[in-house]
């Protein structure tokens, strides 16, 4: 089975974020990027499948900056192939363009299963998997928390719903899945292994094919949240604290 995992770089929230002068995007010049957490789970799910059933795992990343280390880390964790899609992406890339580029690139490589993170922390629109499925004409399931082969031509997937409900679906291959969580926490990549891979392995680079997908949506204004509201620290004995809490809750009609 050939599994393709497209991963995306998102801003590292540990660093302070700045809005650009136009007020339409983050200031990318001072931003550090890291792999989208859901994509990390998609990679883990692919590697888990490889470990249990054997597979060839290819990790793809559109080069929005800082992707090399992420791709090397994926190789160190056990991915077979890491491909960087190069182009003019330094100012980020919309889901529509991302999906269009990925669709063309993936179409040119063997793919039975495409695992994408269900959404990314920067736009939260969860569209890449859906668009990929639509563009490539493949079945798509989102919010997936586990994948197992079901015969040669299908996979059985677990899809999570609100309230702890889980659906089990069978999907024909090839298919696109939006991964919510791998069945186990993403594995650790020891530094020595990553460094060794950096010395011995090479990342493949594919120039991004020309696409005209549009942005889908545009940001009109981006601003830091305004400071609002205030906190009250309740001090005193447990009885006093409880009394005050009760007073607040009844005041707001939360307790009758």
């Amino acid at each position: 089975m050939d599994i393709v995992v497209p991963v995306k770089m998102v801003p590292d929230l540990v660093e302070e974020l700045e809005v650009n002068a136009e007020g339409t995007d983050l200031d990318r010049s001072v931003m550090k990027l890291r792999i989208n957490e859901f994509d990390e789970h998609a990679v883990e799910e692919a590697l888990g499948l490889k470990g249990r059933h054997g597979a060839r795992v290819t990790v793809l990343a559109v080069d929005t900056g800082d992707v090399d280390e992420t791709l090397f880390t994926c190789l160190a964790k056990g991915a077979d192939r890491a491909v960087k899609i190069t182009g003019d992406f330094q100012n980020g890339v919309s889901s529509h363009t991302m999906a269009a580029v990925l669709a063309k690139v993936i179409a040119g490589m063997p793919h039975d299963l495409i695992l994408a993170g269900v959404q990314a922390a920067d736009d939260r629109d969860g569209q890449v998997g859906v668009l990929l499925g639509a563009t490539m004409g493949l079945p798509h399931v989102s919010v997936v928390t586990g994948v197992e082969p079901a015969g040669d031509k299908a996979v059985s997937v677990r899809q999570e719903y609100a309230g702890g409900l889980v659906a089990e679906l069978e999907v024909d291959l090839p298919a696109v899945l939006g991964i919510q969580a791998a069945r186990q926490a993403p594995r650790y990549a020891p530094v020595s292994k990553v460094r060794q891979i950096m010395k011995t392995a090479k990342l493949e680079a594919i120039a991004a094919p020309a696409v005209d997908a549009g942005a889908g949506s545009t940001v009109r204004r981006l601003a830091k949240p305004e400071v609002a509201g205030r906190a009250e620290f309740i001090e005193g004995s447990p009885e006093e604290v409880a009394e005050r809490l009760y007073a607040i809750l009844t005041e707001r009609g939360l307790v009758k």
């Binding site: 540990v14 594995r187 650790y188 020891p190 530094v191 460094r195």
Partner: protein, 724 residues
């Protein structure tokens, strides 16, 4: 017996020639059996990977010889055991050398030229006296050890394993070996004396008064009127003695008696910096660390066989004390069993256990949870009288667990943060010096201007909001004393000490490289650290990476400043305090006096805990443990809680003083979780310094507070230091 005018004795008295031949035959057999066993063991060590322990061989041998001869490592903190063992040791040496002397005189010199025989006359007299008296020391020592093992039964000699279910193994064979060993030696000595007494009783040569014990036994035979009867038994007893002794020789390499051969050797090849400076991973290694027996060095294999099961590490280990499935003793013994199984050189009486199939050692024979329980506090290595190096072995196996991704989620998360941000708090490296914002002076940037002291602050001191106040306290004290110091600001990374000990060697190298680079760019005379863990790696490990600097702990620097009058105290503090030695400051860095002197200079009365200085008890944070999930074992106090309780054993102690950022975190938590609130307060030494430097006396710890009132009466009835 007119031919024996000069003092001497006949070697084979009343022996028919056939019996003499039988004796030589049996001796040869016993020695052959022993040599076979020694060969088997030697071959096992030969198969080990190389270890560089051959440099300064002369000094090593001298040091080991001195340690064995004087019993310094054995008698340390165990004077009684040391004396008893010294009796056995020197008694055995005397009796063994005595036997060799007879062999040389009778079996060599006599055959070459009988005129040259020397085992007679004055030599014989002194020989008799020394052997007779040291034989008593031998028996006395054995008696004490028997009482200790079978009557006193200290916890160290309890073979129960914390890392296996009670029914999963049986160590009755170990107990049998102990009995066999002690009783064999005992009966060899007793039969020796009886044979001597019988020989003397037969014809009472006057010079045999130089054998006082034998003479007394002969007197006893006379008094009992059994002399004629025992004369007939002499030959039988001679043979009994000989068979026991030959049996012992044959038994030696297949039993715990092998420690007589191996332990001096093991001490000689001991690494002085074992644990302090961990072995690097060889460039050629495909995967780091130890996975199977084939990965062990010959010194590792020797370590395994050197263990006498004395249990000192077992009782010193904080992980075991806190109920974790780790005992350094059982780790070593389990590996020994595994190595004997796989590489031969076997002990005769072994543990009975269903052994895991396959060659996997790490994670199978030694379970992952056992390896992760270690705090790398080095208490085991410090306690071990025979130089076994537990901590490097554990780290080598952890390296493999890390390579296999078999690690705790909390630890993995922290390592990922360290990879990405260079600190264990997962904060931006740009915020590393944010703690300085509360100061009303600017700390020099050592990357930009030269300083005398480069202060390596460390993650906890720099990032933990609960500790930043203390860090500023150190800065203020340095500043007030006019110390020329600076920091690396964003250039500092986690030193990697505990990363390395958690088994993430690659990450250690990465962090260390960045620090080495930053240090190379700065200009300074010496490094001062807040964190004893950083101290260790900077001092002992960084030199191998090209960064050899003088390293000092801030308590050393502050004490210097106090002594030289640069830190005049506003007031002297009162009250009783105890000082907890951080593992990495006492056992690793061997800085123990500076903090104590500081406390005394500050005016505090210092009361030592039962375990102090290098015998200190770990807080449980080291070796990456502080990054792992909550590891409390239900119903067992944590190591830190046990330590606070230990401090409270001594009456009047209200301040528990520490000199390590991690200790503040660990012990403040332990005071809360252990229910000690209101009875004792955890103080960082720099807080106390700050109080003594402050002009307002209101900040002092008052000598008569509610603490004394509440705790005094109860504590005064307690045992205190001397009671234990």
């Amino acid at each position: 017996m007119s031919d024996l005018v000069t003092p001497a004795r006949e070697v084979f008295r009343n022996f028919p020639a056939a019996l003499i031949s039988l004796f030589y035959g049996l001796s040869t057999l016993a020695m052959a059996v022993a040599l076979w066993g020694l060969w088997q063991r030697g071959r096992k060590y030969w198969r080990g990977r190389p270890a560089d322990r051959w440099h300064a061989l002369g000094r090593r041998l001298l040091r080991a010889g001195a340690a064995v001869g004087s019993h310094t490592t054995l008698a340390r903190r165990n004077v009684g055991v040391g004396l008893a063992h010294a009796g056995i040791f020197w008694g055995f040496v005397a009796l063994f050398v005595g036997t060799i002397i007879i062999m040389i005189d009778y079996d060599v010199v006599r055959l070459v030229n009988p005129q040259w025989r020397f085992w007679k006359g004055a030599f014989y007299r002194w020989y008799s006296l020394i052997l007779d008296l040291l034989g008593l020391a031998f028996l006395g020592g054995l008696g004490l050890m028997m009482c200790r093992r079978w009557i006193q039964r200290p916890p160290a000699l309890d073979y129960t394993r914390p890392d296996r279910e009670p029914g999963a193994y049986s160590r009755s064979a170990y107990t049998t070996d102990d009995r066999l060993f002690l009783w064999l030696l005992f009966w060899i000595a007793v039969t020796g004396y009886l044979v001597e007494g019988m020989r003397i009783a037969a014809d009472r040569p006057a010079f045999e008064t130089w054998s006082p014990v034998g003479w007394q036994i002969a007197d006893l035979f006379d008094a009992l009127g059994v002399t004629p009867a025992v004369n007939r038994l002499h030959l039988w007893f001679w043979w009994l003695h000989a068979l026991l002794a030959l049996g012992f020789i044959a038994y030696l390499p297949y039993s715990k008696a092998i420690h007589m051969v191996l332990d001096g050797v093991n001490l000689a090849f001991k690494d002085d910096l074992a644990g302090k400076r961990l072995p690097a991973v060889p460039e050629a290694a495909a995967v780091p660390g130890y996975q199977t027996l084939a990965d062990l060095t010959w010194k590792d294999l020797l370590d395994l066989d050197a263990c006498t099961k004395c249990g000192r590490c077992h009782v010193a280990c904080p992980a075991r004390a806190a109920g974790a499935p780790l005992s350094p003793r059982d780790l070593i013994l389990e590996l020994r069993e595994h190595a004997e199984h796989g590489l031969g050189g076997r002990t005769w009486l072994r543990e009975r256990q269903v052994r895991p199939a396959g060659p996997a050692m790490t994670g199978a024979v030694i379970r992952a949870e056992t390896l992760w329980a270690c705090t790398t506090c080095r208490a085991c290595m410090d306690a071990c009288p025979v130089g076994i190096e537990h901590v490097p072995l554990i780290v080598q196996m952890r390296r493999r667990l890390v390579a296999d991704g078999d690690l705790d989620a909390g630890l993995q998360g922290t390592l990922e943060k360290l990879q990405r941000y260079g600190n264990s708090f997962g904060q931006s490296d740009r915020n590393r010096a944010r703690w300085t914002q509360g100061l009303n002076f600017k700390i020099k940037d050592a990357r930009k201007e030269p300083v005398e002291y480069l202060w390596f602050v460390g993650d906890y001191a720099a990032y933990d909001p609960a500790l930043q106040g203390l860090t500023r306290g150190v800065a203020r004290a340095f500043h007030r004393a006019g110390l020329d110091f600076g920091i690396l600001y964003e250039g500092e990374r986690n030193s990697g000490n505990d990363v390395r000990r958690a088994g993430e060697e690659g990450l250690f190298q990465l962090l260390a490289e960045k620090n080495v680079e930053a240090l190379a760019r700065a200009r300074f005379n010496a490094i001062v650290t807040t964190d004893p863990h950083s101290y260790n790696t900077l001092r002992f490990e960084y030199p191998e990476l090209g960064a050899a600097y003088r390293v000092r702990h801030y308590t050393e620097v502050l004490l210097d400043l106090m002594r030289s009058g640069h830190l005049p105290l506003e007031r002297r503090l009162g009250g009783v305090a105890t000082y907890h030695d951080p593992c990495y400051l006492s056992r690793y860095a061997e800085v123990m006096d500076a903090p104590r002197e500081m406390l005394v200079t500050l005016g505090l009365r210092l009361v030592e805990m039962r375990r102090n200085r290098q015998n200190s008890f770990c807080c449980g944070a080291g070796g990456g443990r502080i990054w792992m999930g909550d590891t409390r074992v239900a119903g067992v106090p944590t190591a830190a809680e046990q330590r606070i309780a230990e401090a409270l054993e001594s009456p009047g102690i209200r301040s528990f003083v520490v000199a390590c950022p991690k200790d503040v975190t660990m012990y403040r938590a332990a005071v809360k979780t252990g229910g000690f609130e209101g009875r004792i307060e955890v103080k960082e030494i720099v807080e106390l310094l700050g109080e003594a430097l402050a002009p307002h006396p209101a900040l002092s710890i008052s000598p008569s507070g509610p603490l004394r009132g509440a705790g005094g009466g109860r504590e005064n009835t307690g045992g205190g230091v001397a009671g234990r």
